[in-house]
Symmetry: C3
Subunit: 192 residues, 3 copies
Amino acid sequence: MTVADIKIDKTSAGLAVFEQRIALLESRLAEVEDNQPEDKVSMVVFSGELDKVLAAFVIATGAAAVGQEVSMFFTFWGLNALKKQSKLAGKNVFEKMMGVMSPAGTEQLPVSKMNYFGVGAKMLRKMMKDKNVASLEEMMELARELGVKMVACEMSKDVMGIRDEELIDGLESGGVASFLGDSLTSKASLFI
Amino acid sequence: MTVADIKIDKTSAGLAVFEQRIALLESRLAEVEDNQPEDKVSMVVFSGELDKVLAAFVIATGAAAVGQEVSMFFTFWGLNALKKQSKLAGKNVFEKMMGVMSPAGTEQLPVSKMNYFGVGAKMLRKMMKDKNVASLEEMMELARELGVKMVACEMSKDVMGIRDEELIDGLESGGVASFLGDSLTSKASLFI
Amino acid sequence: MTVADIKIDKTSAGLAVFEQRIALLESRLAEVEDNQPEDKVSMVVFSGELDKVLAAFVIATGAAAVGQEVSMFFTFWGLNALKKQSKLAGKNVFEKMMGVMSPAGTEQLPVSKMNYFGVGAKMLRKMMKDKNVASLEEMMELARELGVKMVACEMSKDVMGIRDEELIDGLESGGVASFLGDSLTSKASLFI
C-alpha cells in the first residue's frame, strides 16, 4: 500500500485516532524502556578456588573496561577470596573448624584441579608471573579502581562465622535480594 | 527545532505519511515486546553438592519471593538432590555402580569442599541450624509453595539409570529444549 | 476517555506536535531495538571435566538446533577439551608439569565426581553408549556442523603453555573482550 492509497479522515474525530495511537505507543514504549537490561554484568562468586576467582575477576575487569557496570556477589567459599587474614578468636568450635579448613585471603586459595599440597596454586601464580599476567591481587585492585561493586553475602558470613573485620575493606554487604536486584537488570549473569 | 518551525502538509497525502509512520511504529514495537525477557529466572542445577544445591534454592526462592517465575532444570549430579531414597533393584551393573557412588536424597549430599567422610556436610547443616538458616529440605518445600518449576533432565535419568519413582513428587520431566525454552525468555540464567 | 472526547488542534502548529511525538518515538524505539539481545547463547567453558564439557555441548547443540547463534569460550581447563594430543617439546618446566597433569583431548577428560583412576569417565561413556546418547566427540562434530563458534582463550593458552597446533582445527582465538562481545548481546550466558 502506498501513501497515496491511504484514506485519511481529516475531521477532528479522525485526527483524534492518531492522538490515541501515538499516546498508546508512548506508554507501551516507556514500559519496554523500563524493562530493558542496563549495561551491567552480575556474578555470583561461589567458588573459592584461585583459578575460578581469577576467571571471575578477569571477566569483571574486562566488563568494567568496556563500560559495563559490574556487580560481584561473593558467597560461600567465594568469601575466602575477600579475607585479609585468619582470625580464630571468639568463634565457636564449628566456626573454628570451618576457619581452619578454609583458606585465608587470596594468597592461600587452592586451585580447583591438581591442588597437590598447594603446588597447583603456586605453579599457576608462577606461570602467570612469567607470562606477565596480572595476579589476583592486582586484578582485585584494578576491579576496585574500575568501580566494580563487591558484595559479601550476609548469610554466608553468618553461617561460616566470618566477621567483617576479617574481610578486606570497601565491600558492601547484602543478601540474595541484593544479587537479584543487580542480576535481573543485567545483560549477563554468571554463577562462578 | 521548535514546533513552530515544523512544516506540516495538511493534505490527505501529508496526513497519510503520519498514518504510515504510526503503523510502522506499532508493528516494530510489537516485535520488540514479543522479544522482551519475561520476569523469569532459569537455572541448570548440574552439581549435586549440598552447598551448590543450597545456593541454587536460596536464589530460586529469593527470586520467586520477589515475583519472578523460576525454573530449575536438574541434570547430571543435580538429580541426586531430587532423590527420595536409593533403589538398586532392576538396574544393570553400571547403573548399580552409579547408584552406589551417588548419594540418595538431600540428607546425603556431599559438600563441594572439605567433604571428609561427610563431616563437611554435617557441619554445614549444624551451622545452618545454629544460625536459624533454613535447611535444604525446608528450602525445597518453600520453593514448591512459591511455585518454582523443577524439571528432571530426561537424558540424565536415562544415562544414570534413575527411575521416576526414585525421585520426589511434583517434578516435570524434560530435555535441553525445555531448559532453553525457559532460559531464552528469562532475565537471568545460571549454570550451577 | 473516548475518541470523541479528544480535543484536536487542526492547525499546522497542532499537527506539528504529532510530527514531533512520532519522530521522538522513532528515535527512542530505534535505540531500544539496538539494545535488544540477539537470538544468541554464550558460554564460558572453564571446566575440563567430561561431564561438564558434555553438558556444555548438549546445551550448545540444543540451542543451535532451535535457531540460536551459539558462542563457546574455552578457558583454563576447558581448553583441554579442545586438545588433539599431548605435546611436551619446547615447553618450560612449569608448562611441562601442567601438560602432564592436564588431560589431552576429550578421550582423557576426567569426570567431576567419582573419578577413581578414570573409571568414572569410562563408565559414563559406556552408559551413554548403552543408551545411545551421542558421545562428546559426536557432540563436538555436531556443534561444528551447526555452526557453533568455539573460541580458545588466548590468555589461558599462554599461561598454560598450550600451542595452537595442539588444539583441534577450526577454532577462533580471543580474549575476554571476545566473550563479552557475545555475552552482552546474548539471551543467555552460562559459566560452566
